[in-house]
């Protein structure tokens, strides 16, 4: 297979960056998108050029490291698939693929296709802990949890923090990610004691970061490799609304984000 790759090349966050076009003519249809980039990088190194930087770790769709736009779609054309799991047989011989990094003020570019997703880490950090007793493991089934509840929590817990939702959202909002994290802990009995504080703190941090505002458009769910449902956003809104109505002594504090919205566009 022969493919033309139009890839965003940018040395660092100060550099202006531009697309560079590469022709890769020994693409095996069973390769993954990342393996295709590996092949390209080998040839770039042989030619003495700088390889294309991209993030990856597990290469089996579970770590959330990888991700970029392929022809205007986050993680490419296959639904529920990360770029590391996307095989090249989904493309046709002679296709041109445009590879672009996630674009959001909250995700500053580091190099080529790599962006800094610390903003997500801040939101996770704001979520804090759940209270479980240490010591011996509890007997199985001591806490009975309904199937539907377990399913909902499990669906939300599938989020791997890749950032595709922010990248795909026309508003660059992090509502799906934050919603998934709030829903997966809040639906289970183990997460109930800190439910209010968690919703207030994680939402406060999400809003402190340079993300846009959710308008319930739904592009995030479409791009999400784990198909996190849009209803987790409603869950976040409900938990936040209810927690806001209650009286509390402590005010959630936020971590100062790397990039602030007040910065000139």
């Amino acid at each position: 297979m022969k493919l033309t790759l139009k890839i965003w090349r940018q040395k660092n966050c100060k550099d202006k960056g531009a697309f560079a076009t590469y022709v890769v003519d020994n693409v095996d249809p069973e390769m993954s998108m990342l393996e295709c980039l590996d092949v390209l990088n080998e040839s770039l190194i042989e030619r003495g050029e700088l390889p294309v930087a991209f993030e990856h770790d597990c290469r089996e769709g579970i770590c959330g490291s990888c991700g970029f736009m392929i022809n205007g779609v986050a993680h490419g054309p296959e639904r529920a698939t990360t770029v590391c799991q996307l095989t090249m047989r989904h493309f046709k011989d002679g296709d041109e693929l445009v590879l672009e990094p996630w674009r959001a003020l909250a995700f500053p570019l580091i190099k080529d296709l790599v962006v800094d997703r610390s903003a997500f880490d801040h939101i996770i950090e704001a979520g804090g802990y759940i209270s479980v007793s240490t010591g011996n493991a509890q007997d199985g089934n001591t806490l009975l949890i309904g199937k539907e509840t377990a399913d909902q929590a499990m669906d939300a817990a599938a989020c791997i923090g890749c950032g595709a939702c922010v990248a795909a959202c026309p508003n660059a909002s992090a509502a799906l990610f934050t919603g998934a994290k709030i829903a997966h802990l809040g639906t289970l009995p183990q997460g109930k004691p800190e439910r209010d504080r968690r919703a207030l703190s994680m939402v406060a941090q999400m809003n402190a970061e340079a993300f846009g505002n959710c308008t319930n458009i739904g592009e995030c769910t479409g791009a999400c490799p784990k198909e996190i449902p849009l209803e987790v956003i409603a869950r976040m809104n409900r938990d936040y609304l209810l927690a806001s109505c209650k009286k509390r002594e402590d005010v959630p504090t936020t971590i100062t984000p790397g990039f602030e919205l007040s910065a000139k566009r």
Binding site: N207, N213, N216, G218, E231, A234, R235, Y240, K247, V251
Partner: protein
């Protein structure tokens, strides 16, 4: 309880309200509640207007009735104006935020999982606003009545005379269709925003939103269309 603690409690409550409004989620709740108020008005207004099909006496009597309840009418109007102001304030602030959140756009971006209506809320909203202003000046105040005559209190005459001008009707129909688009996404979105969504109900809710928006559009545009066709004269 001493005076000092109650003062502190008041201020903590104020703080909570301020924090709530400052969060994007809080503003969305305000948008949803104000949107729901406007939505209810849109339905009530439609039911009132459809009386035009029952002849001049009926709708003129309805107009007189609305004016006769004086204070109540002004309370409703005041509430709606407040709702519009809050809805738009939140819209503008949230829109600015989102616009700033992606300073460098994509060279290529495909929509794969969203309705046209949801992506154009920032177009349908302001156009509907422009329409509401024109509409109030035309039929409520009688301040502008292009190519038509306005008789204070004769609702039936004003409607027929106003809508016989084809481009006034065309603009009305266009704006109502955009309102339909706004509501097709809005009716579902407001449930999301206040947190009343569940995977089991999403399909029904979205279907209902589309159906209600379509009925509202058909109901409203039936009036200028009937007048243009001479069915109501």
């Amino acid at each position: 309880m001493s005076a000092a603690t109650s003062a502190a409690e008041v201020s903590s409550q104020q703080n909570r309200i301020v924090t709530f409004w400052q969060s994007t989620n809080g503003k969305k709740v305000v948008m949803a509640v104000t949107g729901a108020m406007m939505f209810l008005f849109v339905i009530g207004h439609l039911l009132g207007n459809l009386q035009v099909f029952e002849g001049p006496e009926k709708i003129n009597a309805y107009g007189h009735f609305l004016h006769s309840i004086g204070e109540v009418l002004w309370i409703v109007r005041g509430t709606l104006i407040l709702a519009i102001v809050l809805h738009i304030t939140a819209t503008v602030q949230l829109g600015m935020r989102s616009w700033k959140a992606r300073p460098i756009g994509y060279s290529r971006k495909e929509a794969i999982n969203s309705s046209y209506a949801s992506r154009t809320m920032y177009w349908s909203g302001p156009i509907v606003l422009a329409f509401i202003i024109f509409h109030l000046l035309q039929f409520t105040a009688g301040y502008i009545h292009p190519e038509a005559s306005f008789v204070e209190g004769d609702v039936y005459h004003n409607l027929v005379s106003g809508f016989q001008v084809w481009w006034v009707s065309a603009w009305y129909i266009f704006a109502i269709i955009l309102l339909g688009f706004h509501l097709r996404h809005g009716i579902w979105s407001m449930f999301q925003s206040v947190g009343l969504a569940h995977p089991r109900h999403t399909k029904t809710l979205k279907g209902a939103a589309l159906l209600i928006a379509t009925l509202i559009v058909l109901g409203y545009i039936s009036i200028p269309i009937s007048i243009l066709l001479g069915l109501v004269k």
